[in-house]
Subunit: 221 residues, 4 copies
DNA sequence: AATGAATGAGTTTTCATTCAT
DNA sequence: TATGAATGAAAACTCATTCAT
């Protein structure tokens, strides 16, 4: 049987595979290290036989990598949908920050991505490889951020004199740090709430036309 | 025998333990995933007996965690020394960016740290725990960045009207993104060189007194 | 998979587990110390894979403890069956003594039990714990001896004026000493044959109605 | 260096060896299984270097076997001394029963002996072998019991018409069962106190001249 | 197609024993 | 002489993968 790649569209994915993906994501969200997840745990949670996993995937690494790729894609797809509901760039930014701060499993998506991007394991290389493929393109984080920026420029809310790549970089880097401050509160030494204010201030200062409205000092202290 | 913690001072560490630390770091630099390293590989490389590892550590996880903690501490200590040789804030920033870009083992230190900060494994929790301990304090990344900023403020190069925490955050976030763009070139969508320019530009714009000298557009395109 | 307890009924026990039990008992009968038995020896003898042992049991100690519990139960069950074939209390006693003296694997059952009762190891505690469980009750040594005594009283062969517990104790104690004299001939200082005569004499003297028939001196010397 | 045998007289035994013996016995009394005791635990407790153990003994088994042999000898020697202080056979018996019932480490001596007599391990065979040697003879349990019986006969308290061996057997078997009832209360089904009464009654009935004084029924119920 | 019992190669871990100091 | 760091052979245990049903 042709094996799964993690890049299939939702409707193409057999129910048992979706159950497996779900099991993997739940395990990761519960704090399990990706390389430490056992096939039997996945199939038990998915309510299927162990042998069945090998009808759809060749190795354990494939299972976990596909589940993660699928999940990242799904999450960024949802993200884009939600962002389109907000009608200004600043509202979109605020929604993003709030969503990330919410005690929700969704927030792990971003952290997970960074974790994988900084890893050398066989499993991570597979995820990275798939994130470079054409069918992932649409939901690529960089693309999602690019889209909201583009619309912001069109609406005249975001500066048009800065290179798009620079703006994407600015958002990515800011959100990343907010994420880290949340997930590693104890060792990061700055409270997530303060980081969130910094992020909001910095992005608005840098990327939006009307600069200088409100000062950091005033806004925060 | 009392076991190692990874927080010992260099001179307190037995030679065989240093050989083990060295073996672990080399393996990680060669691309091995931390959780995939085998005890026998470590002891073989260190040129010691397998049992000796267990004279100094209780479990395999301890070995790797201590090696990583020791290495991060050593690297940030070196970093601080090197940074002190540069006589202006901008030179320090440029040196940092160059150093990170260099095909050098040293750069792994930062990536490794981020990887661990975003992980949930037993091993990562151990590293995080140790990074919070008093004896790590001195080499904590936040402290190192704080120090160069403080000196920058004293020399009148860095703005004194911004909260220190905010500036530390800005540097951390920027360097992290540069690091990610280097280590995952294909999937990041912006070239490391461009990210480096963005980082330089953004930090100087934000943190230094004399703002507006040079424009991003002009500087880059 | 749910693990074995050693208290399952014969028909509930998977064939591979029976093969393992058999291997363990044979090893013990061959003189191997319970704590010295290796998992690989058991599985090799049982003709199964090493991993299979861990499908049915959690630890090596579990394997050996369950095998011993199962064997003790089986042996006392057989014992009860055989004893019922003898039609008088004295014949039952004589059959017991003969059976114990026979160079047969069966006799180890009693010695093994005593060895375990006098031990403090993890393994022995497990066996003791299981011997106290309800499903062991039926084959408990005390019960088996109690049954033959009860029938003896009913047939008018055994005294009815003595407390049952006292009589059970008398038999247990006598058989135990006979067993010890057999298994440690050199160091016991009384020959098993003599002990056997003592046992027969003492039990008949003490427990049976018609006392004083035959004297020890006369009977033995 | 000539190694220890466990049969040396107290004054011949080097202090470090006595410390080791002490450590072993304490470990066994704390519930450690003889074969599970580690050399490093012994030497740590004895306050000596690990290598030193091998100056006095060839193997770990030697260490434990010698310690046990020495201890059994010492205990039965003490036993004999104490028994001689009691001026009648019945008082001696009562003292023995009380001593065994006392929450004292001393009681383990008898249990330990039985455990070793029913074992097949290398270590137990060594102990048995030593218990058969000439220099152990003096403190052999059978000898100790024989001595008090002999004196009882001389004083006219103990019957002279029974073979000595039979009387030794009777005492041994009775005490053994009392011991077992104490150490395995839960699984033995008769309370130690009752067993003690049975033992006292039975031995006095069987072995002493004036029979029939007091009935079991009357005495106990 | 789906299963899950069985496998065994591959790891971690232990600890008696040695030997340089 | 006494030590204890170092060793490595030996054992327990894991778990991805297979395959008969």
């Amino acid at each position: 049987m042709a094996k799964m790649t993690g890049l299939e569209e939702l409707q193409e994915i057999p129910p048992k595979v979706l159950q497996m993906y779900d099991a993997v994501i739940r395990l990761i969200e519960e704090g399990e290290d990706a390389s430490g997840i056992r096939v039997s745990t996945i199939t038990d949670r998915a309510g299927i036989g162990k042998g069945t996993a090998y009808d759809y995937f060749d190795t354990k690494e494939d299972i976990v990598a596909c589940a993660v790729v699928f999940h990242i894609r799904k999450m960024f797809s949802l993200l884009e949908q939600e962002l389109q509901k907000q009608d200004s760039f600043e509202k979109q930014l605020l929604w993003l920050l709030e969503e990330m701060g919410r005690e929700s499993s969704r927030k792990y998506c971003f952290t997970r991505m960074v974790h994988i991007l900084t890893d050398n394991s066989e499993f991570s290389m597979q995820v990275r490889q798939r994130m470079m493929s054409a069918s992932f393109e649409k939901y690529h984080p960089m693309r999602v951020f690019g889209n909201i920026l583009k619309r912001g420029v069109d609406r005249g809310e975001v500066r048009s004199d800065l290179p798009m790549e620079y703006m994407v970089y600015t958002i990515f880097s800011a959100l990343l740090t907010y994420m880290l401050s949340i997930s590693t509160e104890d060792c990061f030494k700055i409270s997530p709430d303060k980081v969130r204010q910094f992020v909001h201030y910095q992005i608005m200062q840098e990327l939006c036309e009307k600069r200088g409205q409100g000062s950091l000092t005033g806004a925060i202290y």
